[in-house]
């Protein structure tokens, strides 16, 4: 699997002496395909992950669609830690981590005592289990009825530590990041910083979330749940579908990857974090634009070098309009193609920007741009080429991956081809 690759000269904007960081393994569990091959096929075909909800009783909601992962078999990937030690989100996280290290060709002997970061991003963690605890209390009429096993596994920190336990990696920093719907990009950025610092060579980063009643009720109450399909940037968009899954990426120092002849999917060029400090839930044009500029600067990438943007693109009226304006603020009247993989995956919350980052890596690897499906007519407020409905073959060298969260948090990631660009 290893390919001979010669190190390229660092790009001109890269600070001298800064360690370079590459992606050498990808693990994806999604509503449009589990495993890298199926996920790639789903992205290329423009599959929809929307299907009837099975996780919780959706009686009374007036709608019953979410983007659940079908036919998930945790025992295929989780061998060591009892499955009861984690909820659905934890199982997704561990399974995706196992896939990612296998894909990277890293054995347990390679990992072992090696110092590493494990950082899983999440919005809701095991909120499905919290829902079950509440059901138990209500059914019995007393909180004494709450299940000890569920009670012990609800804290979000477990999403990272359980990966360490399953992969037997004791010497790790288990930093779960709960910055809501931008958490996946936050985690990848943290892995980048940890490796750049020289303190670690390996980071397992990404995000995980599971469909739950809490998220469904919340977005329904906010009027942000679409009654049919997700149509990002479309004139008739009506909101999100809640989704789930996990994306875990193996970040590795370039030296480590080259030394073991690892396959390199892409280079993590940089990222940017900005906080709007303005509103608890509304997206903010200036905050998003500032995040994009910070990311481009950190990556040493010029605007005209970006081949496409993977948008936050939730499909809500507010997000898509605001995000489009921010993109135009940064890029001017001729922005890069801008696609929303949430049209296929729904909003998988903390997993969303991690799965989108994997989609970007796949796009670089296979030289295509995934589509924005369900698209009929582009909103004049979102004057973007969204690559409607059909993936296109394209030269893809540098990609921007956007994410934003409630509480005014934006995280923007820049990935690029490794080894070809001067």
């Amino acid at each position: 699997m290893s390919t001979a690759q010669s190190p390229a000269a660092p790009r001109s904007g890269t600070p001298a002496g800064r360690r370079r960081v590459v992606l050498t393994g990808l693990g994806a569990i999604s509503s449009i395909g589990t495993g890298l091959e199926e996920y790639t096929a789903g992205l290329r075909a423009g599959r929809s992950g929307a299907r009837p909800i099975t996780r919780f009783d959706s009686e009374g909601f007036g709608q019953n669609i979410a983007c659940e992962v079908p036919d998930f078999e945790p025992e295929r990937w989780i061998h060591r830690v009892p499955l009861d030690d984690m909820g659905r989100a934890g199982q997704f996280a561990v399974a995706a981590a196992r896939m990612a290290v296998d894909d990277a060709g890293l054995t347990e002997a390679d990992l072992g005592e090696r110092q590493a970061v494990i950082s899983v991003g999440t919005t809701d963690g095991e909120s499905h289990d919290i829902g079950l605890l509440v059901e138990q209390e209500l059914a019995a009429g007393t909180p004494e009825a709450m299940d000890p096993v569920l009670s012990r596994r609800i804290n979000a920190g477990r999403l990272s530590t359980v990966i360490a336990r399953e992969l037997r990696m004791p010497n790790v920093e288990p930093t779960t990041i709960t910055t809501a719907c931008a958490a996946g990009n936050y985690s990848i950025g943290y892995g980048l910083d940890a490796i750049r610092s020289g303190e670690v060579d390996i980071a397992l980063c990404g995000g995980a979330d599971a469909v739950c009643r809490k998220a469904f009720a919340l977005f329904k109450r906010f009027g942000a749940l679409t009654p049919d399909v997700v149509r990002p940037f479309d004139r008739d968009r009506q909101g999100i579908l809640t989704g789930e899954g996990a994306g875990i990426l193996v970040l590795e120092s370039l030296e480590s990857a080259l030394a073991r002849g690892a396959h390199i999917y892409a280079e993590v060029l940089g990222y940017g974090l900005s906080c709007d400090a303005a509103h608890a839930t509304a997206p903010n044009r200036d905050g998003i634009a500032r995040g994009i500029r910070l990311a481009l600067e950190d990556a040493g990438v010029e605007r005209d070098e970006v081949d496409f943007i993977s948008a936050h693109g939730t499909g809500t009226k507010a997000n898509d309009k605001t995000e489009s304006a921010a993109i135009l603020d940064v890029y001017g009247d001729a922005p890069p193609r801008t696609v929303a993989v949430k049209s296929m995956l729904g909003h998988s919350m903390g997993a969303a920007s991690a799965l989108a980052a994997i989609a970007c890596s796949i796009a670089i690897e296979h030289q295509f741009i995934p589509p924005t499906i369900n698209h009929r007519e582009t909103d004049p407020d979102c004057p973007l080429d969204v690559v409607p409905n059909q993936a296109i073959d394209a030269e893809v060298r540098i990609v921007e991956n956007n994410s934003s969260a409630f509480a005014g948090n934006n995280a923007i990631l820049i990935l690029g081809t490794y080894g070809e660009r001067v």
Binding site: E59, G60, F61, T122, D124, G125, S127, I130, G131, L133, V134, E135, E137, L138, P143, E144, S151, R152, N155, A156, G157, R158, T161, A164, R165, R168, P170, N171, E173, P174, T175, T176, I177, T178, T179, A180, Y190, D193, A194, R196, S197, R213, A217, L218, K220, R221, L273, S274, C275, D276, A277, A278, A280, T281, G287, A405, F406, A407, G408, N409
Partner: protein, 406 residues
């Protein structure tokens, strides 16, 4: 008592300009609403357990260590607080005390790259369980209180802190239970090291509520006692020594973390502490004070045994046990650092000495931070590097004649 390490030129020269230093802190804790109350309480060694009162609803245990007099509207005003969760309120009150003087004026300079990172366990369980109860019991499952929804986001407290004080730098929430304060500190260290922030508000928070109490009651391991729960929020200002706006209280020499993959917490704590000391360039013998999390669990007992086997016996006696605050969950590790600073602030012999805190969490995370205690009355910071700007504009300590040798 001799003070061999205090303020020696060699000691100051050992603090490079990019050393992470703690220059301020605040604590909303069972000892009270301010850092001053916390410091006095820690030094007194007083217990804080009380009957928490009817406002919390039925509880599984008669006592808890709650923040006294925590009236959200009274402390934060009527605007935006009617449906605010307790976790956010604890964090905002702590942030006010950290950043403002008694008149409400900003006393800590901030800029567009001042960051916030907050450690949590699982946010406000009271908020999320009440939301779900509404969904299960109201006429329709989405007839839930929209006004409470923003507070249910796990990153809300950190974001609300940024909104309240206009902090537009990196804003992050990390989850790791009792270790989360150390994860947050390391997060800030890394991002500052990469130039993403000029200064950080770092801390961790846990709220006491009926929901939290009942879930912890259910979660208690067979054989362990019913948990005495605490709550609060501890925040630190961390900066680089070379650009710090005021003299440092302590330098952060190392933060190390680990996961107990073998169900052997004593071995995990031992390995973590050894690595942290090595990273800090310190030996176990020179540790002046150590503050374990004192978790009321097998891991907590193992943590204490591991430290007792590694460190000088008196190190574990200098700071009163964190048991006095109850199990403060995510708030714990930051409170432990603040307990160290509280004791050191009243003990001249502490200046220049090495100290550490450790933490263990139910989910398997283990952490250790190694600090060098500093006397802020000393001119302990190095001279400002040539070309660096001092945001405060005037800082007498910047003239330290020996710092230039660093």
């Amino acid at each position: 008592m001799t003070r061999p390490l205090k303020s020696s030129p060699a000691d100051r020269a050992a603090l490079p300009p990019d050393t992470l230093v703690i220059t301020g802190w605040s604590a909303v804790s069972p000892y009270g609403l301010t850092g001053r109350a916390f410091a006095a309480g820690v030094r007194s060694g007083a217990k804080t357990a009380v009957a928490p009162g009817d406002a919390f609803g039925p509880l599984p245990s008669p006592e808890a260590c709650v923040v006294p007099g925590f009236d959200i509207k009274g402390l934060l005003g009527p605007v935006g607080t009617a449906k605010m969760d307790r976790l956010t309120a604890l964090t905002l009150v702590a942030s006010d005390d950290l950043l403002q003087d008694a008149e409400g004026n900003r006393s800590v300079p901030t800029d567009g790259r001042t960051g916030v990172v907050l450690g949590i366990s699982m946010g406000s369980l009271e908020n999320v369980t009440n939301f779900l109860k509404q969904s299960y019991t109201n006429a329709l499952p989405f007839h839930v209180d929209a006004g409470r929804i923003p507070f249910g986001s796990l990153n809300h407290a950190a974001g609300a802190t940024a909104i309240r004080h206009g902090l537009t730098g990196p804003n992050t929430t990390v989850a790791g239970g009792r270790v989360s304060g150390l994860l947050a500190l390391n997060y800030a260290r890394r991002l500052m090291g990469q130039g993403r922030a000029t200064k950080y508000l770092v801390g961790s928070a846990e709220e006491f509520s009926a929901a939290h109490a009942w879930i912890e009651h259910a979660a208690v391991a067979p054989g362990d006692p019913a948990p005495l729960l605490g709550e609060g929020c501890g925040l630190l200002v961390v900066e680089h020594a070379g650009t710090a706006h005021r003299p440092a209280l302590a330098a952060v020499l190392a933060v190390e973390t680990r996961v107990d993959v073998d169900d052997d917490p004593a071995a995990a704590v031992t390995a973590c502490v050894r690595r942290a000391l090595a990273r800090a360039g310190a030996t176990a013998e020179e540790v002046w004070a150590a503050v374990p999390s004192a978790a009321p669990t097998a891991a907590g007992r193992a943590e204490h045994e591991a430290l007792a086997a590694l460190l000088p016996a008196e190190a574990l006696t200098r700071v009163p046990s964190m048991e006095l605050l109850g199990d403060t969950g995510a708030a714990a590790a930051t409170f432990q650092i603040q307990a160290l600073l509280s004791v050191a602030g009243a003990e001249p012999a502490a200046a220049g000495r090495t100290a550490l805190v450790t933490a263990v969490d139910r989910d398997g995370a283990v952490g250790c931070a190694v600090l060098r205690l500093l006397d802020p009355a000393d001119e302990n910071r190095p001279a400002t590097e040539p070309g660096a700007t001092d945001p405060s504009g005037s800082d007498a300590d910047g003239t330290d004649p020996d710092g230039g040798a660093a």
